[in-house]
Amino acid sequence: MFNRWILTTTTAAVLAFSPLLAHAETPAQGGEIVVTYKDDITTLDPHIGYDWVNWSMIKSLFSRLMDYEPGTANLVPSLAESFEVAPDGLTYTFKLRKGVKFTNGREIVAGDVKYSIERAINPKTQGPGAGFFGAIKGFDDLTGGKSELLSGIETPDDQTVVFHLSRPDATFLHVMAINFASVVPKEAVEAAAGDFGKKPVGSGSLVLKDWTIGQKLVFERNPDYFVKDVPHVDKVTIEVGQEPLVALLRLQKGEVDIAGDGIPPAKFLEIKNSPEGAAMIVDGEQLHTGYITLNTKVKPFDDVKVRQAVNMAINKERITRLLNGRATAANQILPPLMPGYDKTFTGYAYDVEKAKALLAEAGHPDGFETVLYSTNTDPQPRIAQAIQQDLAAIGIKAEVRALAQGNVIAAGGTEGEAPMIWSGGMGWIADFPDPSNFYGPILGCSGAVAGGWNWPWYCNEAIDKRAGEADAMSDPAKAAERQAAWSKIFTDVMADAPWVPVINERRVVAKSLRMGGPDNIYIDPTRVINYDAIFVKP
């Protein structure tokens, strides 16, 4: 079977904006906006940047072979005009759009794509995303320092890039859409002499015009961007170092258009209940699950009955109330927005009596003592205390250890160290909208290593095998079958109960009344703020 997908510029544009058109609000061109964040922007190097603030900026500063329709998880070709997948799923051939230029004026050729992916993987770049490209042939040589080049990428001519994979990878097209796959011009990287993150040159919808460290970044519209009429705004000024509370005051006064850090918890209800405030709040679902890990290598959590009992003991509704309702209770690993989420699955219902009975059955009628790790920024310690009280109700005495994030991560990645971890502040947010992204590093055997992110140290080899098989189903015709396979994998993991899925937290962004467009372009599942799509009302 041969999959062929060709889109011209015009259809791409129509397709890309169909969700907006459906909203019956035509984006207006022009306007200058101000966006605030508390923290300074660390880097705009697409092969290094990996936090939720620089993520959206890098998205609009650079282009990639693939992208998503704004506000959705639907993959569409972007820098690629078309692509073909070989029947065995081992070869991907992309045809580049003609005439696309970097903002330094040079036309993008196939060699730029090859250089960029190699740069993302090369250990010298110190990029966190190298592992995403693991399926490309020659990956081990490059990451192991044996080669500077990636043998699995060929460029037969300037418009064609061919990827050879060492194993089928159903997520490969998603990988081509993540920031780490952004295309960069070699000459600009070299000219920046190690500081490309402050002097980025791309081919996205925005261009960085000015960066005053610690104060602001000024982005302007790229007039030559290859999608017509994108972006809609002429200028985006990012002001950093802005305390969320002050940003909110400035937003109310009309000095700020988007308060990137959202609304401080103490102010949330006040704003939400004011007539004008409700229109300022964008409250969107994201691909996030917050969970408690139960360390399968630490007694007594090595007993599945104990883990199940804890699953029944947590009052998740109370935790959503602690967050002012900015979260919904979770009963499974995948968040509701993720393909593969099982609507029929009910998980472990909150039932203290049943939990006690199960604990007694496991030989702990009087409970036991344990330690619960949590990060130390509000509201996480309060949530950890709520969990502590829930555990006390079934006789488990948990000591809460609230530490800096780095220390919690270190404890989680040390074998036998942390019996329980509340993931708040570090909970998993998917890198791309594919269920496999919720498995490998956090629940797969490969993640259960020192320094890994599989904090329950859970390794079920039968499930690991099924996960491998599901990821090998790269034929798009089998997408539904693959999704079902993943769905079953996650509900089967829940039988082993290595986690207590607790909440799906929503992201909150505050925007001024003059900003237009639907909520899902302010909390875009793959971008957070979609600078390509947002606009100022005329």
């Binding site: 190097d45 460290i213 104060q215 170092g241 305390e243 270190a410």
Partner: protein, 306 residues
Amino acid sequence: MAMLLAKRLVQSCLILLGVAAITFILLYALPADPARMLAGRSATAQTVENIRRELGLDQPLLTQFLHYLGNLVQGDLGRSYAQKTEVATLIMARLPATLTLMAAGIFVEVLFGLTFGIVAALNRGGAIDRIVMASAFVGVSAPQFVVALLLLYVFAATLGWFPMSGYGTLAHVVLPAMTLGILGAGWYARMARSAMIDVLNQDFIRTARAKGLSGRRVVLRHALPNAILPIVAMIGIDIGQFMGGVVVVEAVYGWPGIGQLAWQAIQQVDIPIIMGVTLTSAFAIIVGNLVADLIAPMIDPRIRSH
């Protein structure tokens, strides 16, 4: 004088070396792994290992420290782990804002502190004294963020006299400097008051009064120079403290100072930045104290003979 300076310079270098060593050891004793933090969630073990090697974190602690010192001697503070930019560039970019706030803050502190301290001392035991000392007590104990937010809410958000946030014009510096000044003035007022009271009770003041000098001249020409020494020493310490960053005030007013840089670096375990800021702050404390020591003999001839 030259001897004193030379001695101080040698001492300063040793202190800086000590600060560097202690900070370095403390940072590496942290259980948090910078490579792991940098690599983020999705990184494979190989990626983390590669990052660790590229940063030189796989070397023994002593090798890393000597390497750091070697670069430091050449004026190279290294590159930020997270931002990849030169640490010196990042600190320099924030230096003007830090120095501005330091100067303005100290100015307000000293102006208010001295004035109220002297007034209180002259009215010792009276109603004015009690009011000043009570206010000083409030100033000393009030949390920075409360005062900062209060001033911001009243003078910027409600009255609109000053911009709410940012840096660049004189109007921007008023509220942050007032916040620091009001809080710091309490210390200065208490110190100025007790120093003045000490001096005012001494014989030479009585002599000056007996000579028939005006009250104003007695206070400003005779008493104040004798009472000001501890204040000068305190300014020296304040310079260092302000250089290390005033995190809370900077955060509330969006002031692009060194404190914000340090705070963010600590969260990211960005060791080169933490080291850089600590050393800058230590350096400033040393310079501040040195300047205070050099000024003292100019004010008080008695010190010159020592």
